[in-house]
């Protein structure tokens, strides 16, 4: 049984009167790929933003290896986590290479040749063409932008990778091939991965563990088979059926 890398302990997130996340307990297993899924506004991105410290919980605590995340340790912890968002979040004033190496160069703990070697390794892993490294975000396709964003997230070789709908803005062909590649990369690296999606097929294909959310609450956590065969309630089976029937059309 895996220990949990990240845990939400009675975490509640409110924005004024709006509750984005009701008091929630959640364990994220080390070295596993966990998928957060659910309809829009269910709080799945909120969970990710709480873990990376972009949001501070209204009550409760987010723990990283048993240690509560706070203002004091967030900077160190962020460097042990990679974060990829839907349209890549690449800085427009930097080239692809500069985006990837920004944090490593800033920390000044790496030699120039180490950084270059890491960049080569990441290009190979994400199958990003080397000649694209000198390009700016606007000069890259959507799929390439996501590869660069993934490289940037992996630059410090983090323990944890957080991906917020990384394939959401891509066309179906690119999306399918990237799904395969992502799964390969996750398997190869053995990192703790949390990925947010609203696509059940993608969740089942990539994730070891699926967390289904609805209106700021976790409805069920388990494997795809658990969800299919022992649904916690009617919503779980409806959500799975709706997605499956779409695929079967």
């Amino acid at each position: 049984m895996n220990e949990s890398k990240i845990a939400l302990k009675d975490v509640e997130m409110r924005f004024g009167d709006v509750v984005a996340l009701h008091s929630t307990n959640l364990q994220i297993a080390t070295g596993q790929t966990t998928v957060l899924i659910g309809p829009s506004g269910c709080g799945k991105s909120t969970v990710l933003r709480l873990i990376i410290g972009l949001l501070t919980p209204t009550s409760g605590a987010v723990e990283f290896e048993g240690e509560p995340i706070s203002q004091n340790n967030i900077l160190t912890l962020r460097r042990r986590m990679g974060y990829v968002i839907q349209d890549g979040g690449l800085f427009p004033h930097l080239t692809a290479a500069q985006n990837v190496t920004l944090i490593a160069k800033h920390l000044q703990t790496f030699q120039e040749d180490e950084i270059q070697a890491k960049l080569d390794e990441l290009c190979e892993m994400t199958r990003f063409p080397k000649e694209g490294l000198a390009r700016y975000a606007v000069e890259l396709s959507g799929g390439q932008r996501q590869r660069v964003s993934l490289m940037r997230a992996l630059a410090l070789d983090p323990d944890v990778l957080l991906l917020d709908e990384p394939l959401g803005a891509l066309d179906p062909m690119v999306r399918a091939s990237l799904q395969t590649e992502l799964k390969e990369i996750f398997n190869r690296l053995g990192k703790t991965v949390i990925i947010v999606t609203h696509d059940m097929a993608e969740a089942g294909y990539i994730g070891n563990s699926i967390v289904l959310m609805r209106e700021g609450r976790v409805v069920q956590q388990g494997t795809l088979d658990d969800l299919r065969e022992q649904p916690a309630d009617k919503f779980v089976s409806e959500f799975i059926t709706a997605q499956r029937s779409l695929v079967q059309l």
């Binding site: 410290g53 900077l75 979040g89 080239t95 920004l102 700016y136 940037r152």
Partner: protein, 500 residues
């Protein structure tokens, strides 16, 4: 951004060096003058006498009205300037009753100011009309104006506000005329073209003859005597005071009118100075008149110094303020609000407000402070908006990457906002180049110097000598900034802007 900050540092150092060198000199004395021909001419003559006495003279000409020049004298920005007994009594000492020169001297001594002897002419205020108009309407005395309440009067702002000016005069004579305020040199033009019918003038004014004007008789003896005298600081070298006192009693009304006419005919105050020495001392004096190119170079260099120093300081101050103002909250509104209010103060008023401030006075420093205050808003506002416009996902990406807040700012936010910030700086510099022409009003020099003397001379050509280079300078700044944009703005941002 590194080479940019290095460039900024070198520019700042060079400008400061020029500033320090240009203001350091041992045997130096400053002469001031007000902003009309006679004052320029008397100042030039004083300058020549002091140079003969071995001084290095800085002539701060055309500084403005009485208050500005008087403040400059009190603060020690200038050592001496020419004024008139009537002005001293009414505006400086503010006495309701006529004073003897002894009373005046003891009143001035309280301010640490001395009064030299009378130069020999009375340049009193007068009301002037076109000669033909005066004859046809049969107006020869001021009291004749009572029957013409609808006459159009254009008076200087100083005359309108003086204790011996328009209000008490119209009360004394029982006049119903509603005057409007205008610049003295422009009033002559307006009177000549018939836009106005009546203006205030000085009795030794060369333009009275030039425009064929007639002076209305002061039949109730309202105007006090305006005998010309030099005022000087009591701490001035005795040798300098002695040099100035050579002027005592040497200029009568006829000579002063001729000197004024000579200055306006030749557009050259030094020509009038030569005339003075040839008539009074019967000696031909070689008063060196600078060539246009060397004057243009001096004006432009000074102009660039004013703009350069004020802009460098403005940039250094505004960007941090803009960064702070990009965050939400009341403090940000205050930070944007104060330079905003500053911008609404007319530049002339701002200069006048700064002159009495200790350490400032009539000096390039005051002009630099004013230009600095004017340059803040566009940079502060653009820095704040540029930062606010960075999309949230990108801000969050920078934070999630594990960059400290300071590194988020320098490595991501500021480069992303660089385009907007540079646009703000460009706007500031262009406004600054234009506004810096007003620096000449407080004797700080620059391309405003010919504009202001041109106004005093009513000479368009002289005005253009300053106005055209100033306009060209603004265009040059524009072109330079377009080039700078290519150098500073990251290529990725330019591509992004082009693709939208």
């Amino acid at each position: 951004m590194n080479h940019v900050s290095r460039l900024t540092f070198y520019t700042l150092s060079a400008l400061l060096l020029i500033y320090i060198l240009s203001s350091a000199d041992a045997q130096k004395i400053s002469v001031g003058s007000k902003r009309f021909t006679e004052s320029y001419v008397l100042g030039e003559i004083a300058k020549k006498l002091l140079e003969d006495a071995g001084y290095h003279v800085e002539f701060k000409q055309g500084m403005g009205g009485t208050i500005i020049v008087w403040e400059a004298l009190k603060n020690g920005d200038i050592a001496l300037y020419p004024d008139y007994t009537g002005t001293i009594q009414e505006t400086i000492v503010k006495s309701a009753t006529p004073m003897t020169s002894e009373q005046m001297r003891s009143a001035l001594a309280e301010y640490g100011i001395g009064m030299a002897g009378e130069l020999g002419f009375n340049n009193t205020y007068a009301l002037a009309m076109r000669r033909g108009d005066s004859d046809s309407r049969n107006i020869h005395k001021i009291s004749d104006l009572r029957d013409h309440p609808n006459i159009k009067a254009g008076l200087t702002h100083e005359f309108l506000a003086r204790r011996d000016g328009w209000e008490p005069l119209s009360r004394r004579y029982g006049l119903q005329i509603k005057p409007r305020g205008m610049e003295h040199a422009l009033a002559y033009v307006a009177l000549n073209t018939g836009e106005i019918d009546l203006m205030d003038a000085y009795s030794t004014d060369a333009k009275l003859a030039e425009y064929d004007l007639t002076v209305l008789e002061d039949d109730l003896h309202f105007f006090p005597k305006y005998n010309a005298v030099f005022l000087y600081r009591l701490d001035t070298d005795q040798a300098a005071i002695d040099a100035i006192r050579k002027l005592d009693g040497t200029i009568d009304e006829g000579l002063m009118t001729r000197l004024n006419a000579e200055a306006e005919r030749t557009n050259n105050f030094t020509a009038a100075t030569s005339l003075y020495f040839s008539e009074v001392e019967n000696r031909a004096v070689e008063v060196v008149s600078q060539s246009f190119m060397s004057k243009l170079l001096r004006w432009t260099a000074r102009h660039l110094m004013l703009v350069g120093i004020s802009m460098v300081i403005a940039i250094v101050v505004s960007i941090p303020l803009g960064i702070r103002a990009s965050r939400p909250g009341i403090l940000s509104q205050i930070i944007i609000g104060i330079p905003g209010i500053m911008q609404t103060v007319p530049s002339l008023a701002l200069l006048a407000l700064l002159v009495p401030v200790p350490m400032l006075g009539i000096s390039p420093t005051t002009a630099i402070v004013a230009l600095f205050l004017y340059s803040l808003l566009p940079i502060v506002r653009n820095t704040a908006t540029g930062l606010q416009n960075i999309p949230t996902p990108l801000r969050e990406s920078a934070a999630a990457l594990g960059l400290e807040p300071a590194a988020q700012l320098t490595k991501v936010y500021l480069p992303m906002a660089s385009r907007t910030i540079l646009a703000g700086i460009k706007t500031s510099v262009i406004i600054n180049v234009g506004t810096a022409t007003l620096a000449a009003l407080i004797g700080a020099g620059g391309l405003g110097e010919p504009i202001i003397s041109g106004l005093a001379l009513d000479n368009t050509e002289v005005i253009l000598q300053g106005a055209v280079p100033a306009a060209l300078l603004a265009i040059l700044v524009q072109v330079c900034f377009d080039g700078l944009e290519r150098l500073i703005i990251p290529r990725g941002l330019r591509l992004a802007a082009a693709s939208q």
